[in-house]
Amino acid sequence: MSAPVLSRPTVGLIALALVTALVALDALRAEPVDPFTVPPPSALGSGQAPSGAHCSAG
């Protein structure tokens, strides 16, 4: 048994749809972003310690 072969544009659109669904689901559940507390455009020169999470961190 083999799955039907989907074209690349179709599969690409499915990938985009899945990511969109994830962001939409998250928007319903997560705290909304406060536009007055978003970080400055660049960490370099901001004077702030990096606060993001990275795969190299436990």
Binding site: A3, L6, A15, P41, A43, G45, P50, G52, A53
Partner: protein, 373 residues
């Protein structure tokens, strides 16, 4: 054709503007950087798993040379930047340990089976490769599952975090990093067949662009380019939406991770670049006059094997403190010893994975065109 390309440009701009309006300028810049990664990786066919494969099977070192060039160019700027702004920027530094080495070895094997690494899986999915999309679903699940057991794996034993700049000073760390990259390049050069040593112009350009984007990522995000954390976070958010109580887990109850879990995914730097990367790969694929042939037609067992390989990729990347991007590329280019150990272990695993790959893809019922991962 022109209308389609204009609409693709418009789509990319809308994505960046929408992110800006929703999550602010840094988030928009990170999506833009991610778009750049996707466009370069897919548009210029710059990969990680494929070049490692052909180095072994065809004695072709051109792709690996391009990787080393990109890492070296990034390190040449990133290490001085980290030294100049230690309060604002952080490297991809992690401890070398038993679980980390085992994870890297398994990751190297799995990436040859799934025909994609961390970035490659996202690129493949975005560019319409069904194998990549199935592997990505597994990757998300695996990297989330890996967070649940990370404490156990690190408890097997690990060294403290060691960086080359910590051992040899800032200047010495950069010299050591570039010298080690040159040594690997020399070994690859010696192993490769004549005519398969120097990268073509396309890969020189790609290496330069990847380095520039990686440095932009470091300056904007305050941390190096990464993939796995964001995918694990996506899995955690899906699990939580399905009713899982992650507050009881060590990883997701840690303050930094709990904050990411509670906050919008559009505030997580690796999620933002991952989204941009996937969309960028899609745009590059649609930019072409005609898309490549569909990439896969597998038996049910073959699809199961790809899903499992994706799961293993994600889990092992979490064990290894990163994938080819977070550990290999970003670890080495910011001086972390774990990046070098990851490289050695993953390359050894990759050799094993090439044998497994033949078994899995032998389940394929029809011949299909393959593209570099």
């Amino acid at each position: 054709m022109l209308a389609r390309r204009l609409s693709l440009v418009g789509f990319g701009l809308v994505l960046v503007v929408a992110t800006f309006s929703w999550a602010g300028p840094r988030a928009a810049l990170l999506v833009l950087i991610g778009l750049g990664f996707g466009l370069v990786l897919e548009g210029l066919r710059f990969g990680f798993a494929g070049p490692w494969r052909v180095l072994v099977t065809e004695r072709d070192a051109r792709g690996l040379m391009a990787q080393l060039l990109a890492i070296g160019a990034t390190a040449a700027v990133a290490l001085p930047l980290l030294a100049a702004a230690p309060g604002e920027l952080a490297g991809a530094h992690a401890p070398v340990g038993i679980g980390m080495i085992l994870g890297a070895f398994v990751f190297g094997a799995a990436m040859q089976v799934a025909m994609g690494c961390g970035s490659g899986t996202l690129v493949n999915a975005g560019s319409g490769n069904l194998v990549g999309l199935v592997a990505l679903v597994g990757f998300v699940g695996g990297s989330f599952a890996g967070t649940l057991h990370l404490g156990w794996w690190t408890g097997l034993g690990s060294l403290p975090v060691i960086t080359l700049q910590g051992v040899a000073g800032h200047g010495g760390g950069l010299v050591l990093t570039l010298a080690a990259l040159a040594l690997v390049g020399a070994l690859a050069w010696r192993h490769a067949l004549p005519g398969r040593r120097l990268p073509p112009g396309r890969l020189w350009l790609a290496a330069g662009l990847i380095a520039a984007l990686a440095l932009a990522n470091l300056a904007v995000a305050g941390q190096p380019w990464g993939i796995v954390y964001g995918l694990g976070l996506w899995g955690a958010k899906v699990a939580e939406a399905a009713g899982a109580d992650l507050a009881a887990t060590a990883f997701w109850s840690a303050p930094a991770n709990a904050e990411r879990l509670a906050s919008s995914v559009l505030t997580d730097v690796t999620s933002l670049t991952n989204i941009g990367l996937l969309v960028g790969a899609f745009l590059a694929m649609r930019w072409r006059r005609a898309p490549d042939a569909p990439a896969a037609a597998l038996s049910a067992a073959g699809w199961g094997a790809i899903l499992l390989a994706g799961l293993v990729l994600g889990y092992s990347a979490r064990m290894a403190f990163g994938c080819n991007v977070g550990a290999f590329f970003s670890g080495i280019s910011t001086g972390s010893l774990h990046g070098w150990v990851w490289f050695a272990a993953a390359f050894a695993g990759s050799v094993l994975g090439l044998r497994l790959r033949d078994l899995v893809h032998g389940l394929r019922p029809v011949a299909v065109a393959e593209r570099p991962a």
